[in-house]
């Protein structure tokens, strides 16, 4: 009874997340998140299954090789989604000081508290894992050409294998993050872990989200690329372990099918595919063993680290005093002298810089933006990432467009992040001290975004561009990138009349339509800008100057347009009610 109550309490604590409003309806959040998970996985599995149904005469060998790509996709997706869940729940994965202060004084043995927390975490993980993998498992038999006589037993084996393997892969993804978190805490101690926790969480978010975005592109030709011969990469890639496990469990269903002579044009391809698949059998078995052992080892590691960290209940964080260094003084001087001109601008500038890195929700949005941008770069540039381009006129558009794409993703992430209040209940600070000059405050926020997020990114990109394009082109590209970011920042905040980081979050309406339109428009603009830039670079310095002046002119135009539509003083609207995310039927009357 007592344990059940504690588990319930800890389950409710998962809703007390920075991403979730304290006033939100929990059932509504559950339905939106659960529905979203099931719908997304159902959509993907239907899409992949359709391919087989449109190709009903595909022989078993080709189907097997194709099927490995799909298994790789589902296993990796399950792993990444569950790992992302663990990263999203990051602070709620372990007992914290508040749990200790509330439960520590009650006559409940520490072991009961720790066990209950563990059960709550496991329940959330298992439920999400099951919700995500339900549709692909049920749709597994649909992803087999109708003409292949797999029978009822074969269908059941395939379904069961898909379910077991993807669930295990999901568990592995979740446990890997949990093991990393708890293992690090055990090694460096609670205090030191707190110091690096935020950075680690943000880094994991970038890596995992990038992985998820790149997954569709990297799930093709898995057999030929990875499984044709055993290499270090094959042994080191966790999704392949679980693909091996799947083939060991259910690979024989398709492999044992009678080989009838296919159409002539498929004859060679089918023979090669069958040989390719069959030569991998020893490897599948070895990988399967690695999958099982890795799951066992990570489970043991996680449990051991959790138990070690739970030797005593956590104490409140003793925050280290921030040292007032000479560099801080210099930085403040630069901001006051060169980057901002008014007090309200400075308020917007500093408050943005203080909020974005310190608040989990804001970090998540920024990291997501960076992850999307990174994925876009990898997708567009690919092998040209390190190819030196000697001739300006022949620089691929993709290489030049990569910077704008990355900047677009980051600036969009920034725009989303400043829509969220830093701490809504403390926004009364703004109500009391607000002087109504939204334009100045917004200007400070924009400058903070450019200085703290765009410029460092451009500096890193400059190093890459200088190496592959030469210093002269890299400098021009840097200037174009800066002007493009300023223009994008200015355009994205045209007509923005809420107070960034203070007003309540109101989700954008009609995001599905506008989102697609926005992404398409950005892709076109980035490609067009890259083409114009390449043309200008090839034509000579005068054209480059004209391009930069034109960009600055457009920025000024957008600014003037925005100012002409703004009022001199803007009243605060801190608690605007958002539209409900779900339709209510109000059946209760």
């Amino acid at each position: 009874m007592r344990e059940r109550l504690l588990v319930r309490l800890f389950l409710l604590r998962f809703f007390e997340h920075d991403l979730v409003s304290p006033d939100a309806d929990r059932r509504e959040i559950l339905s939106v998140v659960g529905g979203g998970l099931v719908a997304a996985s159902l959509f993907v599995s239907t899409l992949l299954a359709l391919r087989y149904q449109f190709n009903n005469f595909e022989p078993p060998g080709l189907t097997q090789v194709q099927s490995i790509d799909d298994r790789f996709f589902f296993v990796s997706a399950s792993m990444l989604v569950m790992a992302l869940l663990a990263v999203a729940l990051w602070d709620a994965l372990a007992l914290d000081a508040r749990d200790a202060s509330v439960l520590g004084i009650l006559p409940i043995p520490r072991g009961v508290v720790v066990r209950s927390k563990f059960v709550a975490v496991a329940l959330v993980a298992v439920t999400t894992d099951a919700a995500w993998n339900l549709a692909p498992t049920l749709m597994r038999v649909v992803a087999v050409p109708l003409k292949l006589p797999i029978g009822l037993k074969g269908a059941l084996t395939l379904t069961l294998a898909q379910g077991v393997v993807t669930l295990a892969a999901g568990a592995f993804g979740f446990l890997a993050v949990l093991a990393l978190r708890e293992g690090l805490t055990a090694v460096v101690g609670q205090q030191r872990f707190r110091a690096i926790s935020s950075a680690l969480q943000a880094a994991l978010l970038v890596v995992l989200t990038s992985g998820l975005l790149l997954l569709p592109g990297s799930s093709t030709g898995v057999s030929r690329t990875w499984l044709a011969h055993e290499s270090l990469a094959t042994r080191a890639l966790p999704p392949l372990w679980f693909v091996g496990l799947h083939e060991s469990l259910a690979g024989s269903v398709l492999d044992r099918l009678p080989r009838t002579r296919p159409e002539n044009y498929l004859l060679v391809a089918e023979r090669n595919a069958t040989n390719l698949y069959r030569q991998g059998w020893p490897l599948y078995r070895r990988l399967a063993k690695v999958a099982v052992w890795s799951l066992v080892v990570f489970s043991l590691l996680t449990v051991t680290a959790c138990m070690w960290n739970a030797r005593r209940l956590p104490t409140p964080a003793v925050r280290r005093r921030r040292q007032w260094r000479r560099t801080d003084r210099a930085w403040r001087f630069i901001v006051a002298r060169f980057l901002t001109t008014t007090s309200v601008q400075r308020a917007g500038f500093w408050f943005t810089l203080q909020t974005l890195p310190r608040r989990v929700t804001h970090r998540v949005l920024l990291a997501s933006g960076a992850a999307v941008g990174l994925s876009l770069i990898l997708i567009t540039v690919r092998e040209r990432l390190v190819t030196i381009q000697a001739d300006v006129a022949s620089i691929p558009i993709a290489v030049l467009a990569a910077q704008s794409l990355l900047l677009s993703a980051v600036v969009t992430g920034f725009r989303r992040a400043i829509q969220l209040p830093a701490e809504l209940h403390a926004s009364s600070t703004f109500s009391l001290a607000w002087n109504g000059n939204l334009q100045q405050y917004l200007s400070g926020v924009k400058r903070a975004g450019l200085v703290a997020f765009v410029l460092p990114l451009l500096a890193v990109l400059f190093v890459w561009h200088a190496a592959v394009l030469g210093v002269r082109v890299a400098l021009v590209h840097f200037a174009t990138g800066l002007a493009f970011s300023m223009l994008l920042m200015q355009t994205l905040l045209v007509g923005y009349r809420r107070v960034p980081l203070a007003s309540a979050y109101v989700p954008s309406q009609d995001l599905k339509f506008r989102g697609v339109l926005y992404v398409t428009a950005l892709a076109v603009i980035c490609a067009a800008l890259a083409w114009i830039e390449r043309t200008a670079l090839a034509a000579g310095p005068a054209y480059v100057v004209v391009l930069e002046i034109a960009l600055v002119g457009v920025i000024a135009g957008v600014k003037v347009f925005d100012r002409s539509h703004a009022t001199s003083t803007t009243a605060l609207q801190l608690h605007e009610e958002p539209v409900l995310p779900t339709q209510r039927l109000n059946l209760a009357g």
Partner: protein, 256 residues
């Protein structure tokens, strides 16, 4: 200077403040007393314009504050009953944010923050995250934030909550000194002794209605009682405290 005229506030049909009227003059410290849930904080929020009224009007220097709330708030300082600050900021960062939003001159702001942190005994923790502050420390940060811009009107809603004895004594003297320098102060508190010593006039609110408005001496003449505590008890008390205490003790030790 500040006038509440027939203020009414209803939440979901329940009247929390009912026809409250009073004036606050320059150089005056007015105590605002009432039991928990009597409507003190709601009145304070309406006076600052943070909460819309259901009826009645607040005037500042003869003008309705709803007409130009931004200009009005530039002239007031407010300490809410609960110190709600940005937990991820340090005290310095928070005070700088407030000062910058209020457009204080940077050099003056820096000087004021440094001096006030020192005087309120917070300089040792000025660079620490507010999340690690005690209730009293947060309250002191709120007090500094309310004073930074040299307001004409101070509305203090239980500012002594969580403060140590020394700071409470300083606060008592501070409101007197500020009043002598022409400020108007509304001081809501549960510490009757402090109100008795610091305030020129006392307002007593009970169940949303103003039940008394006058100097402590005047109230003592009207209601038969010695100290302000006795006067207050007679005005708002509904139960015998001794009897209630005995009943609580009975419940605590009872096993049935």
């Amino acid at each position: 200077m500040l006038e509440a005229r027939h203020l009414v506030k209803r939440f979901f049909g329940v009247t929390v403040v009912n026809d409250v009227s009073f004036q606050l003059h320059r150089g005056e410290v007015v105590g605002y007393l009432g039991p928990n849930g009597s409507g003190k904080s709601t009145t304070a929020k309406m006076l600052t314009g943070l909460l819309d009224t259901s009826g009645g009007t607040v005037f500042f220097e003869g003008h309705d504050i709803a007409r130009d709330p931004i200009r009005f708030r530039q002239r007031i300082g407010y300490v809410p009953e609960e110190a709600i600050l940005y937990s991820f900021q340090s005290a310095i960062e928070y005070l700088e944010l407030v000062g910058q939003l209020r457009e204080l001159e940077p050099a003056l702001l820096g000087k004021k923050i440094g001096a006030l942190l020192e005087l309120f005994g917070l300089s040792h923790a000025a660079n620490r995250d507010i999340a690690s502050y005690s209730k009293g420390m947060k309250q002191r940060v709120m007090l500094i934030a309310a004073l930074l811009h040299d307001p004409d009107v101070l509305i203090l809603d239980e500012p002594d909550s969580g403060l140590d004895v020394t700071t409470t004594l300083v606060l008592r003297q501070l409101v007197r000194v500020l009043a002598r320098r022409g400020k108007a102060v509304l001081y809501s508190s549960h510490v009757l002794e402090l109100v008795e010593k610091a305030c020129d006039r006392v307002l007593v609110i009970h169940q949303g209605r103003l039940v008394a408005d006058g100097t402590v001496a005047a109230l003592q003449r009207v209601v038969t009682g010695g100290s302000l505590e006795e006067v207050f008890s007679q005005l708002v008390r509904s139960d015998d405290p001794e009897r209630t205490a005995a009943d609580i003790a009975d419940v605590v030790v009872g096993h049935a």
